[in-house]
């Protein structure tokens, strides 16, 4: 019974915690510029994420190692340090974007600019990290994130053309603006396959003391939770394609994105969008801060647990305190959160090989996983998606940076 409850909660929290500033922004921009055409990239990213999340849970359940623990042990500290620099830099940018997303949500409700919210919001995130437990952070924030289900309701109320939707699951090139199309594809893949989720998920599994009996539960949570989450991302794209694209509205700023639900849900659409942004970004900011603290603490061999008092876990608490403080600084100075979001999502794709290749090697190591190591399907799917993301990132990021 306990495990069934955990399964249900796991799926619900995966759904509630799936959307964040990156997935909303990239899907909204994609829908506004290219209609349904980029749905295939959300599908591909979600498929890859299902495999990655399942693998990180399986690694924790079988070997009792988090991904970071195992990586440092298997490849040694010098290699781990290179991975740490790359991953933490990108995760830091994602944290800035998430805090900016919360600030923006409050800005459109109050009219007070997001830079003014950077410090109070960061303090609130920090306070929850300081006082909260892992289950409060994982479940509480994700349950609030269920407000993002309103995107699905909005999409259904707009009566999308289902044949158009299904045909967009096959990749196709637009007639113009191919550079933007490539950049958006990379950003969507980066938003879907966020490596910080693997670190967060495997650390959570170790915190919750998973063992081999959790392998089927892990598979269900990864599968159903991520599929439903992916459907939410697709719903954002569909809403944007139906509400904004016909009017020629591009999502260059957050206030433009906020209009997307006002067609389908005239009375509450604007407020549902604002609260979706606030709660989804809040949950993601907590997860990213935790993932960075886990990464450092597990990598350097310090004690780590969100369930321990900060006094018994001082270096772990110090890392998230510093990271949250640093992330607030660019926002106070008014850095555009939408630009940080798009760039951090694209850079995530660029750094994917750094995070995923050693992880795949680990997942095929009989010392850690014995008979539970990866099969050819999971190896192939993840490798193909990572290669696609990396190559596209290599081409489209310079184009986007220099083309403005």
């Amino acid at each position: 019974m306990k495990k069934i409850l955990q399964l249900a909660l796991g799926i619900i929290t995966s759904v509630g915690g799936f959307l964040e500033v990156g997935s909303v922004t990239t899907a909204a921009q994609a829908g506004a510029l290219f209609g349904y055409r980029l749905l295939w990239s959300i599908l591909l990213g979600t498929l890859c994420l299902i495999f990655l999340v399942e693998m990180s849970g399986r690694l924790a359940a079988v070997s009792k190692h988090t991904v970071v623990d195992a990586m440092r042990e298997r490849f040694g500290f010098p290699f781990f340090f290179i991975v740490l620099v790359g991953i933490v830099l990108v995760a830091f940018m994602v944290l800035v974007a998430e805090l900016g997303g919360i600030g923006f949500g409050i800005q459109i409700l109050t009219g007070v600019g997001f830079p003014w919210w950077a410090v109070p919001v960061s303090l609130l995130v920090w306070l929850l990290m300081w006082k909260g437990t892992f289950s409060l952070i994982e479940n509480g924030a994700s349950l609030l994130g269920l407000v993002t289900l309103s995107f699905l309701v909005a999409a259904l109320r707009l009566h999308p053309d289902w044949s158009g939707v299904t045909s967009a699951f096959l990749p196709s090139m637009p007639s113009g603006d191919k550079a933007k199309y490539g950049f958006l594809t990379v950003s969507i893949l980066g938003a879907s396959i966020s490596p910080y989720l693997m670190y967060f998920y495997s650390s959570g599994a170790v915190e919750d003391e998973w063992d081999r009996t959790y392998i089927p539960i892990n598979r269900f949570i990864a599968g159903f939770g991520m599929i439903f989450g992916g459907v939410l991302s697709m719903a954002v794209l569909v809403v944007s394609a139906l509400a904004l694209q016909p009017k020629g509205i591009q999502v260059d700023t957050f206030p433009q994105a906020a209009l997307m639900m006002t067609t389908a849900l005239p009375r509450w659409g604007f407020y549902l969008f604002a609260f979706s942004m606030i709660f989804a970004c809040f949950g993601a900011a907590l997860e990213v801060s935790l993932a960075i603290a886990y990464f450092f603490s597990q990598g350097f061999g310090w004690s780590w647990s969100e369930d321990l008092e900060p006094s018994k876990n001082s270096r772990f608490a110090f890392i998230y305190t510093v990271i949250i403080l640093l992330a607030a600084i660019p926002l106070v100075f008014g850095i555009d959160p939408i630009k940080v979001t798009m760039m951090s999502m694209a850079l995530t794709s660029f750094t994917l090989p750094l995070a995923i290749v050693p992880f795949l090697l680990l997942m095929n190591d009989p010392i850690y996983l014995g008979k539970y190591r990866n099969g050819w399907i999971s190896n192939s799917v993840v490798s193909i998606v990572v290669v696609i993301s990396f190559v596209l990132a290599l081409i489209s990021i310079p184009l986007e940076i220099m083309g403005g």
Binding site: G111, K247, R267, F270, M402
Partner: protein, 135 residues
Amino acid sequence: MRTKGFFVLTVLLAIACKPPTPAEQMDTIVSWVSTARMVGDAWLRHTTPDKYTSQTLQQADQMLLQTGSELLKSLPPAIDSAAFDRALTSTRFNISEMSRFVEAKDASRFRQPWDSVLIYMKVMKDYSDKVESSR
């Protein structure tokens, strides 16, 4: 092989370094005029807060000023730049009037510039098509 790689890189950089084209700038203008119209529509239905509405309208006005002045330097010769400038100025005037009436919470006087923006939205779409076809 090395020469070919260098050539590809040069071409990519040349494409990448180009400033936004007049067609892209026109798309931005159409996007902001439509944004102004849509946010006005939502405000009339009492579904968006006053502050958000007026700030978005002010942002639309700023974006039109900025993008429009850049576009005027690079409009294709087939387009009458003086007429385009007049249309853009009128659009901006109506959008700033909308913002003023939102701040005054005057929905009845808001409707007139809001209706005008619909007309200018079509005008800007026509310009956008002309710029696109003159490429």
